[in-house]
């Protein structure tokens, strides 16, 4: 039966190919939207790593969050190192980790911090060890891979967060460790001691600046209790020159912004699927009409009406099955392309590849669409007047 349905399906190769293309494109668009949203969300969640609040210089909370958590934007400025102690002294704060940004190495950011930062992500050292003194660095897995640097090698950072800034050749970092690949933002960071950043930038400061208090760029805070979410941001924002950003809120806002584009793409996929469904419906209706003789002959040969109707439904389901495989493959291919593009731009790393729960909707959607498109043609086949077979040709 399946073989017969398959042969019938491809007896009109052009129509079938067109329907297959339409269905595949629609399902690929839906797959891409489902997969990409899931992976972006997983990627964002993974990089949040339990960070409840980012504290930076006055400015846009979104910018602070993007700079402090995802390392995608420039920070709003620096804040006094004393802020860190101030935050640590707050009873609602479980942990406050400093982050000092300003330099980069081949486009990868150099982040001055403490080993606590690695603990936030549960990162493991795969080679070497954590820095023990300033100007020692631990490379993220991607940085090590693309730069080819090994433990014991030396390198100099360049000024600014993008590649192409002036080099700090006189301040050489020594690679003392390489992090195991975690799929998180740490993979594309160079981690070093907080003091390294101050040391590198001493030359940029004038003599009278030496007495000025040390600065950091951001503080990453973990709350001690949920109560902190209501109180701490307000307290931070009330401090002179400080701005808080709650990553969970800002990420949700970001997803809403991205969501508009996602909705457009999803709508496009739905329109494509509707067109495909209509096209399959027309094709099946035409097939039932064109193959009236064949189907009537099957009935004449003893096939019950439901078997003939099943044959038509099977054609639609086979088409849907094929389109599902191709659509899922195309959708995953597009996501893989997006991931490569983001990796090349040293942007957000998407979540791990594989099937997301929502993707099971794709075959269900295809099967539903096939059944819907086949319902009326199958009913026509079911109700076929077999006696026409015994009438003279007109």
């Amino acid at each position: 039966m399946i073989r017969l349905a398959w042969r019938y399906l491809w007896s009109s190769p052009l129509t079938t190919a067109l329907n297959l293309l339409l269905l595949t494109l629609g399902l690929a668009a839906v797959t891409f939207v489902l997969r990409a949203s899931a992976q972006v969300e997983a990627g964002l969640k993974r990089d949040l790593a339990g960070i409840d609040l980012v504290v930076g210089a006055k400015g846009s909370p979104m910018q602070i969050m993007l700079a402090g958590v995802f390392h995608l934007d420039a920070p709003t400025g620096n804040i006094p190192l004393a802020t860190l102690d101030l935050l640590k002294a707050q009873p609602l704060v479980a942990q406050a980790v400093p982050l000092s940004l300003g330099d980069s190495f081949r486009g990868y950011r150099i982040a001055g911090t403490t080993p606590d930062y690695m603990d936030l992500y549960g990162a493991k050292i795969s080679l070497g060890a954590v820095w023990a003194k300033p100007m020692q660095a631990v490379l993220g897995a991607e940085v090590a891979r693309t730069s080819g640097l090994k433990v014991g090698d030396h390198f100099a950072g360049s000024h600014g967060l993008a590649s192409g800034g002036g080099a700090h050749d006189e301040h050489q970092f020594e690679v003392v460790g390489v992090l195991a690949e975690s799929g998180s933002v740490l993979d594309r960071l160079v981690l070093t001691d907080l003091a390294s950043v101050w040391e590198v930038h001493e030359d940029h400061h004038t003599a009278h600046d030496e007495d000025e208090p040390k600065e950091i760029t951001l503080a990453l805070v973990r709350y001690r209790s949920p109560l902190a979410a209501a109180m701490l941001p307000r307290w931070v924002n009330a401090q002179d020159g400080l701005q808080s950003a709650a990553p969970a809120l800002e990420t949700a806002r970001l997803m809403r912004l991205v969501g508009a584009g996602t909705e457009v793409l999803r709508g496009f996929g739905v329109v494509l699927l509707a067109a495909a469904g209509l096209s399959v419906w027309v094709a099946l209706l035409h097939a039932v009409r064109a193959r009236q003789g064949d189907l009537a002959m099957l009935r004449m040969l003893g096939a019950p009406a439901h078997r003939v109707a099943t044959l038509i439904t099977l054609e639609a389901l086979l088409l849907a099955g094929l389109a599902t495989v191709l659509g899922l493959a195309a959708g995953h291919g597009l996501v893989a392309g997006l991931e490569r593009l983001l990796a090349e731009r040293q942007s957000l790393r998407l979540g791990p590849l594989g099937f997301s729960d929502a993707e099971w909707l794709v075959p269900l959607l295809a099967a539903g669409l096939a059944l819907l498109a086949a319902a009326w043609p199958a009913w026509r086949a079911y109700r076929l007047d077999v006696t026409t077979l015994l009438q003279a040709p007109r």
Binding site: M1, L4, R7, Y8, W10, S11, R291, G293, D294, A296, M297, L298, R299, M300, L301, G302, A303, P304, A305, R307, V386, T387, L389, L390, Q391, A392, P393
Partner: protein
């Protein structure tokens, strides 16, 4: 084995029913159904094939009283008992000859029987056509394939509807010979529905063919076609 009594059929919207004179096919005989277009021939064929429900009267075909069979049972009975060579052959263009011959088994929800297909193709002298598509066949070849398809499940009744349509004289005689040979070889009863004078003429010499004539719209007193040595049954009440 094949016969009817008080048989009539009324189509929805028609003002009067088609009535068929009582008939019983003598044992060992084949049957020629004769009648012009509109005489009720197609309706009788559909009734014989179990495609139309018996509304009134009794109809016995190969030992089965069709009026007593439900739709499912009728389908199964038709598949197992009846072989049909329709006027339009309806060979599926999407399939090869061999695959067309697998359709009867598929219709019955059974596995294909390639050995039986090969046997029939050989018997009908078209073994080399198994892999061809219907559009690659001549009319004569296509008719043989249709006959092979009809014989696949070893029917007890072989029904041929206007088998000479669009055939020249030579092919008409050849087709009739094929049908009669096949019926003899397979041991089944042959029912030929035709209004073709050549078919009627050709069968007139045979004493194993009974004839049932549906008068239908033929004007009263129209000259009867030669009947030879056949047993002829006239359905005087037949009307469309």
């Amino acid at each position: 084995m094949l016969g009817w009594q008080g048989l009539m059929h009324l189509y929805a919207g028609a003002d009067k029913p088609i009535r068929y004179a009582d008939f019983a096919l003598p044992a060992g005989q084949h049957l020629l159904l004769r009648g012009a277009s509109g005489s009720g021939k197609s309706t009788l064929l559909a009734l014989l094939a179990g495609l139309l429900r018996v509304q009134q009267g009794e109809l016995e075909v190969v030992g089965a009283e069709l009026a007593k069979l439900g739709p499912r049972a009728l389908d199964a009975w038709r598949g197992a008992t009846l072989g049909v060579v329709p006027q339009r052959l309806h060979l599926s263009e999407a399939l090869t000859v061999a695959e067309n011959l697998a359709l009867p088994a598929l219709a019955a929800g059974q596995g294909a029987d390639p050995a039986r297909a090969a046997e029939l193709l050989t018997a009908l002298d078209i073994a080399e056509l198994a892999a061809r598509r219907p559009h690659q066949l001549s009319v004569g070849q296509a008719q043989r394939v249709a006959l092979a398809r009809a014989l696949m499940r070893r029917p007890r009744l072989l029904l041929a509807d206007e088998p000479s349509a669009s055939l020249d004289d030579e092919h008409t005689l050849h087709m009739l010979a094929l049908l009669l040979d096949a019926a003899e070889r397979e041991g089944c009863t042959l029912v030929i529905a035709s209004h073709d004078g050549r078919v009627i003429e050709a069968l007139s010499a045979r004493d194993d063919v009974a004839e049932f004539v549906l008068r239908g719209k033929l004007p009263t007193g129209a000259p009867a076609l030669p009947t030879g040595n056949r047993t002829t049954y006239w359905s005087d009440e037949g009307t469309a």
